[in-house]
Every structure is written in C-alpha cells, then in structure tokens.
Symmetry: C2
Subunit: 232 residues, 2 copies
C-alpha cells in the first residue's frame, strides 16, 4: 500500500471529547444546570460565530475569543450570573484541556510511523498547542484555520494545508468524524478521506448519522482501527 | 523565579548544526570541493535571498524554494555540473534533516517542563516539521516566518508570535545564537533574551563575536545551561 505523505486531522470531536470535557468542567463548578445541555448549547454557537467571520460580518477573530463571547450568551441563557471574570476565563480555557478519545494517543503514535500527522482545526494555534501538551498528542505539525485566515469549510483552508506541505491532494489523507468536513476537504483538494465513527461526540444521545458512506476512502471505529487498515 | 510563559527559538545555528550537516551531505556525494567552503557559500546566499522578499522585489517565497535557487548558484560557482535534478532536490532536502547540537534535545525537554517552547525560524513549516521529527525536537508548537509572511528580522514576525500566543513581550523569552536576532526580537516586543554560544556554527574557524553582552537577559553555553539558569 502506498501511504499518503500527510494525514491531517480535524480535532474537536474527532481527536478529543469536547462534550465530556465540558461536562466535567461544568460539574466541577457546581453550576445549577444540566452539564450536557450546557455543553451542547455552548457548542451550538460555534458554527454561527465562525459563519459571521467567514461572511465578513466581523474581521478575523480567534476561536478563543469566539468561545469566550459564546460563553457569555450561554451563561445568560441559563441565567448564571455569579461567575467572576476570572472564573469565566478559566471556564473558557477548558477548550485548551479537552481530553482525547481513548484510542487517540496510541492511534496517532502508530500513524505517525508511516506519515506526517498534523491538525487542521478551526481552533487557534495556542489552543491546539496547549491541548496537545496536556493530552500528549504527538503531532508532527499543528496547523489551524488561523494559518490561512479562513475557517473550514472554506476551500482555502484545505488548499492552504496542501501548500504548506507542498503536496497535492493525492498525497493527503483527511481524517474527521464529520462528513461535511470530509466532503469539503475532498472538493477543495481531491484528497483521500477517512471517516471516524465517534458515537458519543454529542453525549449519550446519538444525534448524527454514523453510517458508512461509499464515497469515503476509509471508515474506521477510531485511530487504532485506521492505523490497522493502513498497515501501521 | 517567575518563568516566561513561552520560549521561542531561532533554529538554524541555534538548535541545529547546519554547517556540519551540510558538510556531511557534500562528503556523501563525493563532490570535488571543500565541504566547509560549499556549506559557507550556500549559507551566505540565505540573507540576500530573504532580503529580496523583505524588500518586495519578489513575492512571498518559501525557504525551501530559496535554498533550491541558491543551490544552483553555488553549484555554478564551484563548477559542479554533473548532478541530476533528483540529486539536486535530494541535496536541498538536507535542510530538513539538519542535526541538533548535542545539548539541544535534552535541553529542550527540560525547558518545556516549565514553559511552552516553540520555534520562530525563517525556515518554512514543512521543513521545520521534518527536521523536528528526524532530530527528535520536542516543540510544543512550530512557528515560522511563513505564519506571518514576514522574514526575521522584520518586527512583524516577532509581534505575530506574541499575537499567536496571546502574550505580551514580558512573558516571552527569545532564544538565539545570533545577537542581531535577539536585538530585533527585543526591539519589536520588549521580550527577555537568551544568547546561546555556538562557537562552531560556521565550522572550525570562529567568525563572529561570542562575547557576553549586558543587554541580554541570559548568556548560556547551550540549552542545558539555560535550563539550569532558569531552575529547570
């Protein structure tokens, strides 16, 4: 098997469990709210916030700042008014410490033996670096929409990734737990695609279609499964 | 001691031994030339090439491409005409495999226990990622002039580094074996500075003033020495 030169990974939900990690942070603060509802509400504001940047309503704004703005909206919605500015900042930093899915670190260690592995996340570089250090994620390179100033699924983010590595799409494997991210990566670059099944991304209730799609190159239950399919 | 949040490193000459690594590659090719003279000639074209980019004579051009263009000039100068395109490409890739100074890996491992460590090199991201993988350099984040599209010593490169990390200069330690790089980093950001003595950067003949300067925060014989001075 000819391996791709580079495997690029979506991060939130694909590599790390944002729902579970936010639930833990909310529980630790003893907020009078369902941790899962809080996590889902916070995450639900993520795409609309990036859409405002993509559409030029606001200038380039990092995910750290968008998360912090969104947190204010969520706290309003749940009528949580007692948190200090320092507590809100600390809560926002949970995105820097999201925990990896159980297979993620071992799977990445195996995959990086055969190819370069990198992120392509909408998370900002500092967030991704802190996350990698706390979770032990062995990236060869951390890349972000911040590098290209275009949030996924803008084609310029995926095309920028290929330019950074000086490769064409045929040498790229894009890895994500989100079918729309894979479709956008393929449309922009012609890359190979690996769909990762993450049934608990949104908590105990499955909310998205996890079925196998013939259009994706690989369908894997996690990164160890993907490494095995690639012979690594 | 309050540690800086981030230590950012110059790479060529500070972390890795470009002169020795190029000499080895030239010797392996059995070129009829002094390996040291070849290495010095190739490196001497590096600053003028970046200057043409900085001054806008040419658009943004990666170091991989500049190195390859410079290699043609050096081969011409030494009247080496028998290398194939593939051999020239392979020789150019030596910059992706430069070997670390003996103290570099252990020193970085100690330093990263107390702060985030990253590069700020004029080398492009792919080059730095391949180098880190082959040399075992444990960066928390790889940053390049490529991130900011401004080559050092343009102040925008150092200022961009602070923006990426969301820190002010007081929280940054800039580390380099080159006094002009440290001076430019300080002028742009007000950062702390660490001068690293690398007496063999240019080969056996010392070509630059290695003396201690009162204006730098630290003066160290290598990264292990720097880690000890920082209590790490």
């Amino acid at each position: 098997m000819v391996l791709p030169k580079v495997a690029a990974f979506d991060v939130f939900g694909t590599v790390v469990d944002w729902h579970g990690s936010i639930c833990e942070a909310v529980e630790a603060l003893k907020l009078d709210v369902s941790p899962s509802e809080f996590a889902l509400a916070w995450r639900s504001l993520y795409q609309p916030a990036m859409a405002r940047v993509r559409q030029g309503e606001v200038g380039w704004t990092s995910i750290d700042v968008l998360h912090r703005q969104n947190l204010d909206q969520v706290l309003d919605r749940f009528k949580i008014e007692h948190l200090s500015a320092a507590q809100k900042h600390a809560l926002n930093q949970v995105w820097h410490r999201l925990k990896p899915w159980p297979d993620a670190v071992e799977g990445l260690q195996r995959l990086r033996k055969g190819m370069m592995i990198c992120t392509l996340s909408n998370g900002n570089l500092a967030l991704l670096a802190h996350m990698a250090k706390s979770a032990g994620l062995p990236w060869d390179l951390i890349l972000s929409a911040e590098n290209y100033r275009h949030y996924k699924p803008d084609p310029k983010s995926y095309q920028g990734l290929c330019e950074t590595w000086d490769i064409d799409g045929a040498s790229l494997l894009f890895v994500a737990a989100h079918k729309d991210d894979l479709d956008a990566a393929y449309a922009a670059t012609g890359c190979k695609t690996a769909y990762i099944v993450r049934p608990r991304e949104f908590g105990p209730v499955q909310r998205v279609d996890l079925g196998q799609e013939a259009r994706f190159t690989y369908h894997a239950e996690g990164f160890i499964d993907l490494a095995q399919q690639l012979g690594l």
